[in-house]
């Protein structure tokens, strides 16, 4: 395939995850945090970022090998 699908998935999830995590760490008002007793934006953002980076890692490994 001319474009490995893991690139767009990886880049999009990294960007979204990073935006969400930064927003959660610096901007979230405490308004909705009570429901989860943790900052959902921050931690789910980190989870999305990790998923995104894993996809990018997979794509770059595949392109190096062949």
């Amino acid at each position: 395939m001319d474009l490995d699908i893991r690139w767009p998935i990886g880049l999009l999830f990294s960007a979204m995850g990073a935006a969400l995590a930064i927003y959660g760490a610096f901007f979230t008002s405490s308004q909705k945090i009570w429901r989860f007793w943790f900052d959902l934006d921050l931690w789910w953002g980190v989870a999305m970022l990790i998923f995104g980076l894993a996809m990018i890692w997979g794509a770059s490994r595949a392109s190096r090998h062949g």
């Binding site: 395939m1 927003y23 789910w44 953002g45």
Partner: protein, 537 residues
């Protein structure tokens, strides 16, 4: 609900990526095969995720949460009974003919196996149904975002149609498939926290059971009689209507899903496409149905009212508003937006293929160059989007007419599986038998619906009527095709190689490791599926 700048940023990121993928794929669209079938070179895990994602539109996601709120665990039958067996069947038994015959579409297979008129009937019904479905999807999306976010209906319809148009125009089926895979992950990441949080707030599984009506937590033990469960159906209607006719009719013959498998890189990948899809499919009830049940358990029932009427479709949006802070809300809305848009893209790419190969190429302008058909595919993409927009506006004007049409179309496909079953597994089946059986099967569904609307036949619930209608239409087609076949002349066997089970060489995978064979995957899926049914019996 109110969106803040971070939510809009996340939505904008998504739109930018989707368009970027389209532009990136543009240069690989050289022939019509690239545009309509991704050049048949996509690996199985991607076509597999696209296969399930094409069916995981926003209407399904919200509708399944709604059914969860209305009927409870019975809704899981739409997955473990109404999808998995059919997905295994299409992968193991039917794919050798679909992929092996090199047909480019479902209608083209019908022409190879039967004749031109059977293909014409199926191609035209499918093309009309698909653009209407695309329009209804667009309309539902605009209404939802108007209701929960206050977005302008015209702006939502036009902007999303333009984004879909650009990326399908540039990247064809590949663009559509890539976006479906993207959407699959967005739905998972956008809805999973919702499922966990809502069940936790309801007090876990047992806490939820205590707050819901009796019969909500079981799938089988309450199916003995139609009066003993909230759906108003009995086990026969469930198994024969949903589990057999509707399910096999959709998963095995609907070109929208089959097209994904036809884009696979080889026979093994094509067979594995629905099998790989079956694995996430089995777990989607936990993502969409159970939160719907939790919503019904924890929220005041009055909050489901829209314009004075009970609207179960609000289950998912209500939970989004309840749990998600700014930021996460953007991810949740993007997931819904993505599934509306990729639903539309899927319809448009299936439409342009059937239009170009099965209608334009066969009846309007045969014998042109490949370049000409690639050009026509692009024109059909623009046309498909324009008709979708028009259909969305018609739906806005006359909501009821669209509901009516959509219902009718959902039964037109029911008899088609009888045609395929006989065509693929009984070599004597003749073209005339198939054509008249199919036509009268569809008419039978229409008549049955007409009789239900006028109260000549009555059912305990709409669902029970749907299941019975499907069984009726299927049986009509099946019996009629057999009877007419017995009175007409069969085709020569030499013409049916690769099209009929008994005259086709089965693909063998002896040379592959056990884990790489389609059958191994199918066995794993069956074991998990039966275990899930047993757990929630």
């Amino acid at each position: 609900m109110h969106l803040s700048w971070i939510d809009y940023l996340i939505i904008a990121l998504y739109c930018a990526f989707v368009l970027g993928v389209g532009f990136k794929l543009k240069k690989s669209m050289k022939t019509s095969l690239d545009f309509f079938l991704s050049g048949r070179k996509i690996p199985a895990w991607i076509t597999g995720l696209a296969f399930i994602s094409a069916n995981l539109g926003a209407l399904e996601v919200m509708g399944m949460a709604a059914s969860g709120a209305e009927y409870g665990m019975l809704t899981c039958h739409f997955y473990w009974l109404g999808a998995i067996p059919a997905m295994l069947f299409v992968g193991l038994a039917m794919m050798p003919f679909y992929y092996g015959s090199r047909a480019k579409s479902v209608p083209e297979y019908l022409r190879l196996r039967f004749d031109e008129k059977t293909r014409g009937l199926n191609a035209i019904t499918f093309a009309v149904m698909t653009v209407l479905a695309s329009g209804i999807n667009l309309y539902a999306m605009a209404l939802l975002f108007k209701l929960i976010l206050g977005w302008s209906i015209h702006a939502t319809i036009l902007l999303s149609a333009i984004v879909v148009l650009i990326y399908t125009f540039l990247g064809g089926l590949t663009s559509s498939i890539y976006n479906e895979v993207l959407q699959f992950f967005l739905i998972v990441f956008g809805i999973f926290p919702l499922a966990v949080l809502s069940v936790m707030e309801a007090g876990g599984w047992h806490g939820m059971a205590a707050r819901l009506p009796a019969g909500f937590m079981n799938m089988w033990t309450n199916l003995g009689h139609a009066s003993s469960n909230p759906m108003g159906v009995d086990w026969f209607q469930m198994v024969a209507g949903l589990g057999f006719v509707l399910s096999f009719g959709y998963w095995c013959t609907d070109f929208l899903v089959v097209q994904r498998a036809l884009a696979a890189q080889d026979m093994n990948a094509a067979q594995k496409t629905p099998l790989i899809a079956a694995i996430p499919k089995m777990f989607i009830p936990f993502l969409v149905i159970i939160p719907g049940m939790a919503a019904w358990a924890i929220l005041p029932h009055a909050s489901f009212m829209v314009h004075g009427k009970m609207d179960y479709n609000m289950a998912l949006p209500l939970l989004l508003g309840r749990y998600y802070p700014a930021g996460m809300l953007g991810v949740g809305i993007t997931a819904l937006l993505a599934s509306f848009m990729s639903g539309m893209a899927g319809n448009v790419t299936a439409f342009n293929t059937v239009w170009t190969y099965d209608i334009y190429h066969s009846y309007i302008k045969p014998g042109q160059s490949d370049e000409h058909y690639l050009w026509m595919g692009k024109v059909a993409t623009v046309g498909g989007v324009l008709i979708s927009i028009a259909a969305a506006y018609v739906a806005l004007q006359f909501g009821n007419i669209m509901d009516y049409l959509q219902l009718i179309f959902s039964f037109v496909n029911a008899p088609l599986f009888a045609t395929f079953l006989l065509g693929m597994f009984w070599k004597r089946t003749t073209a005339n038998g198939a054509f008249w059986g199919l036509l009268w099967g569809s008419i039978a569904a229409g008549l049955h619906y007409f009789a239900t609307v006028h109260g000549w036949i009555s059912y305990r619930s709409v669902m029970a009527g749907n299941f019975d209608r499907a069984i009726f239409a299927w049986t009509t087609c099946f019996v009629l095709t057999i009877v007419i076949t017995l009175f007409t002349k069969p085709r020569k066997e030499s013409e049916l190689h690769g099209l009929v089970y008994s005259l086709t060489e089965k693909p063998t995978y002896r040379h592959l490791k056990l884990l790489q064979r389609p059958m191994t995957l199918a066995v794993i899926v069956i074991v998990i599926c039966v275990a899930l049914d047993w757990m929630f019996r």
